[in-house]
Amino acid sequence: MRWQRKDLLGIRELSAEEIIFLLDTADAFKEVGTREIKKVPALRGKTLVNFFVEPSTRTRTSFEIAAIRLSADVINISASSSSLIKGETLKDTAKILEAYHADLIVLRHSSSGAPQFLAERLKSSVINAGDGAHEHPTQALLDLYTIRAHKGTVAGLHVAIIGDILFSRVARSNIFGLLKLGARVTLVGPSTLVPREFEKLGVTVTHKLDEVLETADVVNLLRIQHERQRKEYFPGIGEYVRLFGLTKERGKRLKPDCLIMHPGPINRGVEIDSELADGTQSVILEQVTNGLAVRMAVLYLCGGIAT
């Protein structure tokens, strides 16, 4: 197939074919990272702006390394250095980036829909690096990539996503991607953070972690985001661990080939036992490495469309 999109805003609007094409393209880029000279000229002369209105170190760094490996020139703008906090609107800031002839804008924003807002108004490629609780498409792609690398395929697998689903853009993008590629998805977490409404998306919702341990091919543990959650959502970390933590005991009940995933940063001893996070079933660091290949593929494909 030919890639047609200048922007990557979310997984929901992608077809299964497009997702597979992105993953296959990432496969081709994966090897670059193992070379002695980790660089290809694919985006030479292009300017990429990492525009992070909401703070992030991991995703920003990952995009930056991916862009550098493609030979793009990278500028980082964060909320603290941005004129947004001086009262400039997102539209005006973006127009200025365009006036600099930025080819790609990687946007992280606390409001759902902000990347779409930019994409509708700019000729530059807009890549969503996470918007509100909406989507985080490159995270889902790297999760799918990692699953496929281990299991050969995503179709037919049972994937459990555990934790704070309500506020999670990672969860939403994963749900859309997994369903499109034919996986069976179960969401697990407290009823306050996994409302039943999610069942309308085509997934199973449960509030008992024990129900999925023995059948899951993949468990994806989401970070419990202390900073975002008001105290009404769950009584406390201790109770969360008791009900939903992947403890050592629960870990023993997983299938031997069940993958343990986490988008990071990990709260050791909260959503996952520290030893399990470092154990043989964990692919958490592979996810990070694969993230580079996936982001190279996204930047390469979308950057090739924008004029």
Binding site: L90, H109, S110, S111, S112, G113, A133, R172, K200
Partner: protein, 432 residues
């Protein structure tokens, strides 16, 4: 003031051959309406009348919209009393009630006097101010409701905000009863709603936008029922959006509680799927809700549970709306699409109500709620008249609005029925 000589000469207008629908007088017939010196007259007087051919048109008492934001004082870049009044005229409204969430808030007799003076000077329709329930709309202390009533407010409301303290609200209802003004309440429980921006349901789940649950409205509607009952005074619930609110109102009204509710066009014209592309012109408070809610609203209008219709005309400048969805202000302009949408949806498409009932809802009902002398074609009343072509097909063109703002999700909609001429005090203030 010296009066001009011309004003001593009698002026006469005859509106010929229209279908006169005057629900206050139980009149529905084809005939002529006479206007002499700005008042409705029983028969022709004087000579050389202005003749308006109304064949095929509805001749209705001037329509009333009791929920409008005119943005002055304080927000003149969104709308002014002058432009908002023109928008009202273009929508067929001869009387509008402006909400107190201005800057300063309309919580003092001085601000009310300013609004009334300004309206007398520049507004082409009757502008009636509503005063605040609480000082600065802060929900902490009562505004001087008695003084506001003396200054001429027709209602009190903290619209845009909602008094959360039930005790304060109880005293407001009691006090308003003493001075004889109704309470209009924007029903929103702040704890339940939190930072919600869209209906909590399928689309909020899918898009990860903070949800605004129906219960956040229903809880306050229920609170208002209890207080209306306790204080035996009229509490009117603004812009009802949720099915549960309709059930609560229906039950209470059946028991004779002085409680009422109103509906805005957008809450029946659209559902929450309209937000899927993050269009901030579909962001309003309360939010667009689900299909079942729309069905319940229509049922409530049909059986009389909801007997007021209004626009919640909420102008915002383009630059204010063209931002991230979370950051955009709530609300849309509505005066110039309201009648068209209700005619199209309620009378033509869903056949929820018939035309005479729609006229009644737009005239007698708000006049009764507010206790004002308007909404009838009785002899000697001010000649506020709206001519409506219920069959005229037209296309909404936001660029041509009289309002200063363009924030509408209905641009380009094809509608059937609209006002074609608006007459205030016998003078045509707008015509198509």
């Amino acid at each position: 003031m010296f009066r001009r000589v011309e004003e001593f000469l009698m002026s006469m207008t005859i509106i010929r051959n229209g279908r006169i629908i005057d629900p206050a007088n139980e009149r529905d017939e084809v005939g002529d309406l006479f206007i002499v010196d700005g008042k409705i007259a029983a028969k022709a007087k004087g000579s050389d009348p202005e003749v308006i051919d109304a064949a095929g048109l509805i001749v209705a008492p001037g329509l009333i919209d009791l929920h409008v934001h005119l943005r002055e004082p304080g927000f003149g870049w969104k709308e002014t009393i002058e432009s908002g009044a023109r928008a009202a005229a273009a929508g067929g409204f001869t009387t509008i009630v402006c909400m107190p969430n201005t800057a300063p808030a309309a919580d003092s007799p001085g601000t009310i006097a300013w609004i009334r003076d300004r309206a007398a000077e520049v507004a082409c329709v009757n502008v009636l101010p509503a005063g605040a329930i609480s000082k600065g709309l802060m929900g902490e202390e009562l505004a001087p409701i008695g003084s506001l009533a003396q200054a001429g407010v027709v209602a009190i409301t903290d619209d845009g905000r909602c008094v959360q303290n039930n005790e304060l609200m109880r005293r407001a209802v009691e006090y308003a009863r003493m001075v004889g003004v109704p309470i209009l309440d924007h029903c929103q429980d702040y704890d339940l709603v939190g930072s919600g921006v869209v209906h909590e349901g399928y689309w909020s789940t899918l898009l990860g936008l903070p949800g605004w649950p129906s219960a956040g409205e229903e809880a306050i509607v229920m609170r208002n029922v209890l207080l209306a009952e306790l204080c035996d005074h009229q509490v009117h619930c603004q812009h009802i959006s949720a099915a549960g609110s309709v059930r609560i109102l229906r039950e209470a009204r059946a028991r004779g509680v002085k409680i009422s509710g109103e509906v805005c066009p957008h809450h029946i014209a659209l559902t929450d799927d309209a937000i899927q592309n993050f269009d901030t012109n579909c962001k309003m408070n309360p939010p667009l809700r689900a299909k079942e809610d729309v069905a319940a609203l229509l049922e409530g209008i049909a059986d009389g549970t909801l007997d007021i219709l209004c626009s919640d005309h909420a102008p915002h400048a383009q630059f204010e709306k063209e931002v991230e969805f979370d950051a955009a202000p709530f609300g849309i302009v509505g005066l110039e699409t309201e009648l068209g949408l209700f005619l199209d949806l309620l009378v033509h498409k869903t056949k929820t109500i018939e035309l005479p009932r729609l006229i009644e809802i737009f005239t007698v009902n708000p006049a009764r709620l507010l206790g004002i002398e308007a909404g009838t074609l009785s002899v000697d009343r001010a000649a506020d008249v709206t001519l409506i072509d219920p069959e005229l097909e037209w296309t909404v063109d936001a660029a041509a609005f009289q309002s200063m703002s363009r924030n509408t999700p209905f641009d380009g909609w094809k509608l059937k029925g609209r006002a074609v001429r608006t007459i205030v005090d016998g003078k045509t203030v707008w015509k198509l």
